[in-house]
């Protein structure tokens, strides 16, 4: 079970607003977060990961990540995060990107095989295509066997064919590892293909009527 109740003041493109989000999630749920740009979707993911500070509480599978007295550092939160721009370590090969997270060669190999990029293991990541980079980033996000998988518009810079392929990969991974996944997306068809729940975010709040169970 994941219980979150977070509050944060934002000064974005739409001026000042308060991000105020409360929700409870069952373990293994796939949530797609939708809403207009600047509504606070990415900030919500970043706050859960500990990349940005916020008031409130966050309890993940019984472990307190944040409350009045506790603030678990980023490094100790078991989160896999997929950035829109891949954010791969450019000084490393594909395999090194995974092993940097955790020195577990058999698991890295398994993940690369799942992503169908095992043949690229020794390639420097700067030589890969966008779709390949995103699959490396996804594999890297899974190396710590995260409790929470946070995906920030992972398909936004990919072509439709690659989007479809990666949608299937993410679905397969979510089922295989049983992670709880939160994904920001603007695409209704992706939401339908992946989500157990869809959250509609408006001006920093999850609309009460916007939680839709598909």
């Amino acid at each position: 079970m994941i219980e979150l109740s977070l509050e944060k003041k934002l000064f974005g493109s739409r001026g000042a607003m308060t991000l105020k989000m409360s929700a409870t999630l069952k373990r293994g749920t796939f949530v797609v977060i939708m809403g207009e740009s600047g509504a606070g979707k990415s900030t919500l993911l970043r706050t859960i990961a500990g990349l940005e500070s916020a008031k409130g509480s966050l309890v993940v599978h019984g472990e307190v990540w944040q409350d009045e007295t506790t603030l678990l550092p980023i490094q100790q939160r078991e989160v896999g995060f997929l950035f829109q721009d891949y954010a791969l370590f450019e000084n490393m090969s594909v395999e090194e990107n995974l092993l940097f997270v955790k020195e577990n060669r058999p698991f890295a190999k398994e993940l690369l095989e799942m992503m169908e990029i095992e043949g690229l293991a020794t390639r420097n990541v700067t030589t890969l295509s966008g779709g390949q980079k995103q699959r490396v980033a996804l594999a890297r996000a899974l190396m710590r066997r995260p409790k929470l998988l946070l995906l920030d518009e992972p398909f936004s810079s990919l072509d439709p064919r690659m989007r479809k392929k990666l949608t299937q990969k993410i679905k397969a991974i979510h089922t295989h590892f049983g992670t709880t996944t939160l994904m920001v997306s603007h695409d209704v068809s992706e939401a339908k293909a992946l989500a157990d729940e869809v959250w509609f975010v408006q001006e920093g709040e999850i609309c009460p009527s916007g939680i839709e169970v598909l």
């Binding site: 490094q75 950035f83 450019e90 000084n91 940097f100 997270v101 030589t127 890297r140 710590r144």
Partner: protein, 225 residues
């Protein structure tokens, strides 16, 4: 016969200054690049001071501070029996202050140009700030790192005012190549001055050419990818 001793002193000074500043400036530049502290502009201004300050001014203040008559110099002398003025080690201390911005600024610029998400990805991978600096940030700013090292080295080799103020011109101890050239000109020994100046010119050019050539190659590599 050319007396190479001033060059040896210059290169010893430049090598040690570069090595010390690398370890001192690296965490500082990293911190400056990551912090949102309100003290950042103040620290940046203080760091950049040696660039705009006349070397004689910096040298004068360092001379006063390190002199055994000052509180700090007196404390050093009484506690450790160390006197820095007119010694190689004093010149080294002065040199570290003088060349500090030349190490900090390229490193800071390099760190600030990195993709912020790449740094965050390292934290999310469970890595500490120090591990992130060493394994992710530093290897990804190789051109900036090379620029910082080479410019600091070359700049220290060319030091004149600060060295003269703090170290004087003691052969084999504080007499560096630039001071030797100054003395040769004073003695109207233009032949030796030409040789020394020519060597300095050649070496400085080679260092700068090396930096620009390497950075050019790196950019070409990135473009190819």
């Amino acid at each position: 016969m050319i007396d190479l001793q001033p060059f040896v002193v210059s290169f010893k000074l430049a090598g040690l200054t570069t090595a010390i500043l690398f370890f001192v400036a690296l965490p500082f530049a990293w911190w400056l690049s990551q912090t949102e502290s309100r003290s950042k502009p103040l620290l940046e201004a203080l760091t950049a001071l040696p660039i705009v300050l006349p070397p004689s001014v910096l040298g004068f203040y360092l001379l006063v501070t390190l002199s055994p008559q000052s509180a700090f110099g007196g404390w050093l002398s009484e506690t450790f029996g160390v006197e820095l003025v007119f010694t190689f080690w004093g010149v080294l201390v002065a040199s570290c202050f003088y060349s500090f911005p030349f190490m900090v600024q390229p490193l800071q610029n390099g760190f600030e140009s990195l993709n912020r998400h790449m740094i965050e990805a390292s934290y999310l991978a469970g890595k500490s700030r120090l591990e992130t600096l060493w394994y992710v940030a530093l290897p990804n700013i190789t051109p900036s790192l090379l620029t910082a090292l080479m410019i600091t080295f070359a700049h220290t080799v060319g030091e004149f005012g600060v060295v003269l103020m703090v170290g004087g011109s003691i052969p084999g101890e504080t007499k560096v190549a630039s001071v030797a050239i100054y003395e040769m000109v004073e003695m109207m020994d233009y032949t030796q001055a030409h040789i020394y100046a020519g060597l300095m010119l050649g070496m400085s050019f080679m260092v700068l050419f090396g930096v620009y050539f390497f950075n050019h190659r790196q950019k070409q590599k990135v473009r190819k990818h």
